[in-house]
Point group: C2
C-alpha cells in the first residue's frame, strides 16, 4: 500500500512536471515566433509565463507544507529540497523565454539578417536539454541527468559560434548592428536556459544519490572555458 | 536562554553572510579589474569563486541537516527555505562576477572604447543593491528589502542607456564592435546580479512575513519593461 506521504510526493512531482510542460511550451513559442516571424506566438509567451509564475508559487507552497507536515528524512527530504531548487530554475527558464520573445519581437520588427545563423540548431539542442532534464527527474534517471551536463558544452559551443558569425557579419555590414545584437542576446538567453537545465540535472542527481556534484562539474566547465 | 536551535540558525545566518561577503568581494574585484585594467584582480575573482562554491555546498548542507534534525515549523522553516534559495542566488552572483571578469579581460586586451559609458555608475548601483540585500537579511528588515526592489528599476534603466550609448558609438565606429559587445555583455552581467539581488530581497520578505510577493512585483516590472 502506498504511504499517504508517497501520494503527496507523487502529486508534488506531477505539479512540477506540469510546470515544466508550460516552460517547454513558452520556450517553443518564443523560438518559433522568431523563426516564423509570428507576433501572436510572442504574445502567447507572456500568457504562458503568467501560468508559470502561478505554478512557481504553488510548487513552493506545496514544498513548505510537506516539510512542515511530514517532516521528511533522507531521500524524501532531498527530493523536496531538490524540488524547491528545480522550481526556481524552471521559473527562470520562463523569464528567459520572455526575454527571447522581447528580443525576437524587436528583431522581426526590422529586416532580417540573412539566415538566422545557427540559432535554429541551438533552439533544438536547448529543447532536447530541457526535455531530457525533465525526463531525468520524472524517471529518477541519474544517467540521463549526466547526459544533460555533457550536452551543455555543445550549447555553449553553438553560442560562441553564433557570437563569432554575427560579429563577422556586422563588421562588414555596420547597418546591421542592432539586428546582430538582437541575435546575440537571443543566443545568450538560450545559453542561460541551458545553464538552468544543467542546474536542474545537478539537483536531480543530488535528489537521487545524495551526491553533490555541482562544483566538481562546474570547475571543469570553467577550466574548459579558460583554455 | 537561547534555544539550541536558535544557535544553529544564528550559525547558518553567519555562514550565509560570510558567503555574501565573498560574493561582494568577487563583484568588486571584477569591476575594479575593468576600471583599473588590472589582470591580477581578474585572477582574484576566480580564486574567490572557488571559495564561494565551497560555501554554497556547505550552506546547503547545513540547511538539509537543520531540516532533518530540527524539523522546524513556521518562521524557522521559512528562514531555512529562504536560505536555500538565497544561497543559490548568491552562488549565481559569483558566476556573474566570473563572467564580468571574462568579458573584462577580453576588453582590456584591446584599445578601450573612450569612456566606459555609464558602467562605473551601474557598478555602484549594483554594489549598493547587493549590500542592502544582505543587510535586509541580517537585520530582518523587510522595508530595506523593498527598497532593493525599487533600486532594480534604476539598474535596468542604466543597462538600457549603456546599450543605447554603445550602439550609437559602434554604428559610426564599426571597428569598435567587439569592444562595444564586451561592454554590453558586462552591463547584462551586472543587470543579472541586480536580478539575483531582487530575488534575494523577495526571499527575505517571504522569510520575515510569510508573504510571497514574487510575481506581484515581477508582473509590475514586466509591465514597465513593455511600456
Amino acid at each position: 500500500m502506498e504511504r499517504h506521504f508517497d501520494v503527496s510526493l507523487r502529486e508534488l512531482k506531477e505539479q512540477l512536471v506540469g510546470m515544466a510542460g508550460l516552460v517547454e511550451r513558452a520556450i517553443e513559442c518564443a523560438t518559433l515566433g522568431l523563426v516564423q516571424r509570428d507576433r501572436a506566438l510572442m504574445t502567447q509567451v507572456h500568457e504562458i509565463e503568467k501560468k508559470i509564475n502561478e505554478a512557481h508559487i504553488a510548487v513552493d507552497d506545496s514544498c513548505v507544507k510537506l516539510l512542515a507536515l511530514q517532516q521528511p528524512l533522507a531521500a524524501d527530504l532531498r527530493l523536496i529540497v531538490a524540488t524547491i531548487k528545480i522550481n526556481t530554475d524552471l521559473e527562470r527558464m520562463g523569464d528567459q523565454a520572455v526575454n527571447i520573445a522581447g528580443n525576437a519581437t524587436r528583431y522581426i520588427s526590422a529586416e532580417p539578417l540573412k539566415p538566422l545563423v545557427d540559432l535554429p540548431r541551438m533552439f533544438e539542442e536547448v529543447r532536447v536539454m530541457v526535455r531530457e532534464t525533465i525526463d531525468s527527474f520524472v524517471r529518477t534517471d541519474a544517467q540521463l541527468a549526466r547526459e544533460v551536463l555533457r550536452r551543455d558544452d555543445l550549447v555553449d559551443g553553438l553560442k560562441n559560434k553564433i557570437f563569432r558569425d554575427v560579429l563577422e557579419h556586422v563588421k562588414i555590414n555596420a547597418g546591421d548592428i542592432e539586428q546582430g545584437l538582437n541575435l546575440i542576446l537571443i543566443a545568450r538567453n538560450l545559453e542561460r536556459i541551458g545553464d538552468h537545465a544543467t542546474n536542474i540535472a545537478e539537483d536531480v542527481i543530488f535528489a537521487i544519490s545524495g551526491e553533490d556534484i555541482r562544483h566538481s562539474a562546474r570547475i571543469e566547465t570553467i577550466k574548459q572555458a579558460l583554455t
